[in-house]
Symmetry: C2
Subunit: 291 residues, 2 copies
């Protein structure tokens, strides 16, 4: 199987893909295809350049990854899995701390280290890159450049770890999702997860509420609450039509094949302007032993 | 009065401050104090370097401004007003389109033009700055540099408008909020808005729900729904403690001095882990004629 991830070698998304491969017991069977940015992972999937993509969805310090949410809305993809990666950002450079004038990273990397950058490098020029490892690769050019990336990329790109654990909170985790094209999703889920009823599943949907129906969100959440379905996340994102108009990304426990979930979604559908199913998948840390 | 805004001259936040000054009928009485970034506006307010700050909160294409949400949570400020600014990003440079190798802007500016940048300048180096006008100022240095900023900054910094209206959607608006220190907020509200019952008010709060209480968000929304209080926005942000743990930013119509709002908040308080009042303020476009 070909798995599209952020490249070049050394991204957290590659780490997520490897974690996921290991969880699903497929080690050695897959090939990684490196993409320049998150959007390219979705594009590669769309044109069948890969079977599966692994992209970041949310981080415990900096929150949602907007471009991933937007592509989930616009592309015809299905979420078939999730992985959580521990993020430990380092400042990597060929030079010394006092040489550093330019700092590069993915926008999420810069955001997760915002306080650090403001305190330690208030005058540094900040550059955004498609990935943290691309930042590391670029930082090899000049001693005055540094990248915010994982400690592993230091060796890969022959850079020094100038400072370690530089994110604004010690605890830093990113949730990645594994995606496929909608028409192939079901096949992969069967192949990778089996259909073990012991697995704990999660389902992700997007809903658009009509603005002129006050209480619409409350009514939807009511369908979940009344069926004792546990919401794990609710996130709003602009509909991009008018300011103040949103779509909601909702994650909850359970599988679309469960009668209780099916019923809840059946009740919700007529109450919303749009409902998009993103998929049901094994919760992180609940992959069944059989895999 | 001293009003802290993003600087240098030419930011959308300056435009927001001017719009707000005009709405409140104070033209000519205030002095703007330019700050390097959003965090500095909050810091200036904290150390009494300004009476009021104006900062961006959300954009119709790129969504919430994370750093503003975080500061609202951590600093002791009160929201006393809001303004909506039409954003029309241009690509500004001393050079021609074919010369451009480096593009600078505030992270929100880069995000709002993500598609444009990917299609038109796939190889350009992207740099983040504290504001769009700071990007324009820096872009004066070399012909190969361009800034994403407002058309007005072209004249201010003697740059050419290389391309106009480059954001990914034609419709592009940013909502700014006016903030004060909590202890001075009430004074300013009285001074600036009077207490006209004809004004349409909005209230903003932050709530933290205990994770082990499923349905907690539903119960809170129920308090609003049962009192026919109209929610205008609900946004989640990581609590920064553990992945999957969030605080919710909720905006609704009404004033904290209304009995119905007071009652709803009174009922909500025991159901949440934390409730922070951010303030009640005149809705944009509902400033009373008397002002």
């Amino acid at each position: 199987m070909i798995i599209g991830v952020l490249g070049p070698k050394g991204t957290y998304s590659e780490k997520a893909a490897e974690q996921w491969i290991e969880k699903t017991g497929r080690k050695g069977e897959d090939v990684l295809e490196y993409c320049a940015d998150i959007q390219d992972v979705f594009s590669l999937l769309e044109k069948d350049g890969c079977d599966i993509g692994v992209v970041p969805l949310e981080n415990s310090i900096e929150g949602s990854v907007g471009i991933t949410l937007d592509r989930l809305m616009e592309n015809d993809v299905q979420i078939i899995g999730e992985t959580i990666v521990t993020v430990e950002h380092c400042l990597l450079s060929r030079g010394k701390k006092e040489d550093i004038k330019v700092i590069l990273s993915h926008p999420q990397g810069l955001g997760q280290c915002r306080q650090f950058l403001k305190e330690q490098f208030p005058a540094a020029e900040l550059r955004t890159t498609g990935s943290t490892s691309h930042a590391a690769k670029l930082a090899t050019e000049f001693e005055e450049m540094a990248a915010i990336a994982s400690p592993e990329t230091a060796d890969m790109y022959d850079l020094n770890i100038v400072m370690s654990n530089i994110q604004d909170r010690r605890y830093n985790h990113t949730r990645f999702i594994t995606i496929t094209k909608k028409d192939t999703g079901q096949k992969f889920i069967k192949q990778l997860q089996g259909n073990d009823p012991e697995c704990s599943y999660k389902t992700s949907i997007i809903v658009y509420l009509d603005r002129d129906r006050p209480g619409a969100l409350y009514n939807i959440l009511g369908e979940f609450a009344n069926s004792n379905i546990n919401l794990t996340r609710i996130e709003s994102r602009p509909s991009k039509k008018v300011l103040g108009d949103y779509v909601f990304y909702i994650d909850f426990k359970g599988n679309i094949s469960d009668a209780i979930i099916k019923d809840a979604l059946y009740n919700i559908e007529p109450k919303v302007g749009m409902l998009k199913m993103l998929g049901s998948y094994s919760e992180f840390d609940s992959y069944c032993e059989s895999n």
